[in-house]
């Protein structure tokens, strides 16, 4: 009986192709909208989670900036006005939170440059580098992103401005030392940055987990030309910088010890640092955790998903009414068929079942088309925002059940009406 009903449903849909398609359009649009947004949302969430695991869950970024309400219309801020963490504040912070803070990372960036071998062919063997001054704490805070895989971080007695030690990435090792990290240790390289040429000794090699991501977005940069960071001692970098405020500490990173509640610690840290500033200070402290950022994106996504789902739901509702409408028309057109079927012994439930099946088949077909279009649109969207796509199987299942439900719900009334038709009237009906 069911197979027969499905066959009849397809035959009658095929007999009125345009009408069927127009009827399904509401459902197609509704389902496609929901699937698209769910696919994109799912992909962004997954990517975020992936990023979170790369960046580490226990790190946070601490910023000092002007308060939002501070009147400051000048575009350039004079040097003495730049918000900065003083040495005193840093010491107090480390003492106050000695049970929570694992390490503090301070950095300074120099201009991008190029690293070469002292006796090599500069045209053939080089690595594009960004030079970053870092304290030893940097390597602890970033152990998830940039773990040291060979050698060591800077030693305590070589942090001065004349200490030309460096920690390079596996990418640089690949470019200059054929990937042999052990061989690279102790070697000297020339780094040209800020028009200065300096020879540095490699003391460690770290794994550059992010440089593979940098290269992803830009097809014009070849694998070899991808810029990778070289770490030099903080004071050394400051001394080479052209920026007179290079040593000014406006932001730094902190990693929390294992077992610390990162969210509540970040709140405590923020209010403590704020309390170190005078009450009428025009600066404010902000502490961001990765979790917070992910949470924020997630919330935004959730709202977006909700909005699109609401639109999708309206489209589905309208689509469902369309199905109901067309089923009513179809049943009127097929009054004689219904009369004949009744004369041939069809009980009420058989007639009802036939037309509900037809409504369900119509809305499921619409749902399937919508799903395919939604996945395609999601694929295009993910491609545009350069993210690997994760199709949400859950959303496909939900949309399938939803279109099934629409068919049953909006098909029931017309089908029931058909099943209650008087066979005599139905047989006499002139179409």
């Amino acid at each position: 009986m069911l197979i027969e009903n499905v066959r009849i449903a397809f035959a009658s849909m095929a007999a009125n192709k345009l009408r069927t398609f127009l009827t399904m359009l509401g459902i197609i649009i509704g389902i496609a909208a929901v699937i698209t947004i769910m696919t994109v949302g799912n992909s962004i969430t997954r990517q975020n989670e992936k990023d979170m695991s790369v960046f580490g869950v226990n790190t946070m970024n601490v910023y000092m900036w002007f308060r939002e309400d501070a009147q400051n219309e000048e575009v350039t801020v004079p040097g003495d006005m730049i918000p900065k963490f003083t040495q005193d504040m840093m010491t107090k912070m480390v003492n106050h939170f000695r049970d929570e803070i694992e390490a503090v990372s301070v950095t300074v960036w120099l201009d991008d440059g190029r690293a070469t071998l002292p006796d090599g062919d500069e045209e053939k063997q080089y690595a594009n580098v960004s030079v970053q001054g870092a304290n030893p704490g940097y390597f602890t805070v970033n152990k998830a992103t940039n773990p040291i895989i060979e050698g060591r971080a800077f030693s305590k007695d070589s942090l001065g401005k004349d200490d030309y030690d460096c920690v390079v990435s596996d990418r640089l090792v690949k470019n200059l030392f054929d990937g042999d990290a052990k061989k690279a240790l102790g070697k000297k390289i020339n780094i040209r940055t800020n028009k200065l040429d300096n020879a540095y000794t490699i003391v460690g090699v770290y794994k550059d987990a992010l440089s593979s991501m940098n290269g992803m977005g830009d097809p014009t940069v070849s694998e070899k030309d991808v810029t990778t960071a070289v770490m030099v001692p903080f004071q050394n970098a400051v001394s080479l910088s052209e920026d007179p405020n290079a040593s000014t500490l406006q932001n730094f990173d902190v990693s929390a010890k294992a077992g610390t509640d990162v969210m509540s610690f970040s709140t405590d840290l923020q209010s403590y640092l704020q309390s170190l500033l005078p009450e009428d200070s025009q600066y404010e402290i902000n502490v961001y955790t990765n979790q917070e950022m992910i949470e924020e994106t997630r919330k935004t996504l959730q709202q977006l998903t909700l909005a699109v789902t609401a639109i999708g739901a309206i489209a589905l509702l309208v689509g469902g009414i369309g199905v109901m409408n067309i089923m009513t028309v179809s049943i009127t057109e097929r009054t004689r068929e219904i009369g004949t079927r009744k004369a041939l012994g069809a009980p009420r439930r058989a007639i009802r079942g036939q037309f509900i099946t037809e409504a369900v088949i119509m809305s499921i077909t619409g749902g399937l088309i919508g799903t395919v279009l939604g996945v395609l649109a999601g694929f295009v969207a993910c491609h545009v925002i350069k993210m690997p796509m994760y199709v949400s199987l859950q959303s496909i299942l939900v949309s399938f059940l939803f279109s099934f439900g629409i068919g049953v719900f909006f098909g029931f009334y017309p089908a029931n009406k058909a099943s209650k038709m008087d066979p005599i009237d139905a047989l006499r009906y002139d179409s």
């Binding site: 009849i8 035959a11 009369g339 004949t340 079927r341 012994g345 069809a346 008087d422």
Partner: protein, 233 residues
């Protein structure tokens, strides 16, 4: 039990309680026994279609007693009537009433479907029936690819599907030319003589009625005459 149909003082009124109240049937007494080929003759408006609808279990009489195969129809629920229609009654309509967009064989399968027969058996049975009416070579055709006579032959095969107790034919040749009409009537005679089918032919044509075994004349909802036809046993 040889009495298939037993009608006693059957009355059917329409528009009850209004000014237009109409006695379509006004006290019909009728017995049909197994193997009879009976015709009911009447002008349009005589109530013959109403009578057929009541006999065919498509509607219930306003009053009177109707027993089909010894069962009181009044006591049957709507779905019981539907079941009885699928098994005991075969309809042949003037307008064929084949279901569009379904092949001849699928049309013949419909009563078998409602009687709960599995697909394989349905196909087998429908093929036998279509062969019987000479339509096997066109069984995959859609109704709109068939001529009037061919459609009616498919409809007769469909009426025979569940080997019903009675075949009700309402003006079965009303839309056909005389040559095709002859073919359809011959088919009825074949069913009657070779398979011993009980047939009830409703027509306004005296000429066709003469071919049957028993002729009932219906005027204004009453049976006013009964005589033997040329085909009487």
């Amino acid at each position: 039990m040889d009495r298939i149909i037993h009608l006693e003082q059957i009355v059917k009124k329409f528009y009850i309680g209004t000014e237009n109240e109409l006695n379509a049937l006004d006290g019909i007494d009728l017995d049909v026994t197994r193997g009879e080929f009976t015709s009911i003759v009447g002008e349009s408006g005589s109530g013959k279609s109403t009578l057929m609808n009541i006999i065919g279990l498509l509607e219930r009489p306003t009053s009177g007693k109707y027993e089909m195969l010894g069962v009181d129809v009044e006591k049957m629920k709507d779905d019981d009537l539907a079941r009885a229609r699928s098994r005991q009654v075969g309809f042949v309509f003037q307008t064929y009433n084949l279901i569009p967009r379904m092949s001849a064989i699928k049309n013949v399968e419909v009563p078998l479907l409602y009687a709960g027969m599995p697909q394989a058996e349905r196909t087998e049975r429908a093929e036998v029936l279509l062969e019987m009416v000479g339509m096997k070579d066109r069984m995959r055709h859609q109704p709109d690819e068939l001529s009037g006579g061919q459609k009616q032959r498919v409809a007769i095969a469909r009426a025979m599907a569940n080997d019903p107790a009675v075949i009700l034919a309402d003006e079965p040749t009303g839309a056909l030319d005389s040559k095709t009409s002859r073919m359809i009537m011959d088919l009825f005679h074949q069913l009657h003589e070779e398979q011993g089918k009980t047939l009830l032919l409703i027509t306004h044509s005296q000429m066709l009625a003469e071919e049957t075994g028993r002729i009932l004349t219906l005027i204004d909802g009453k049976i006013v005459g009964e005589r033997r036809g040329n085909h009487a046993h």
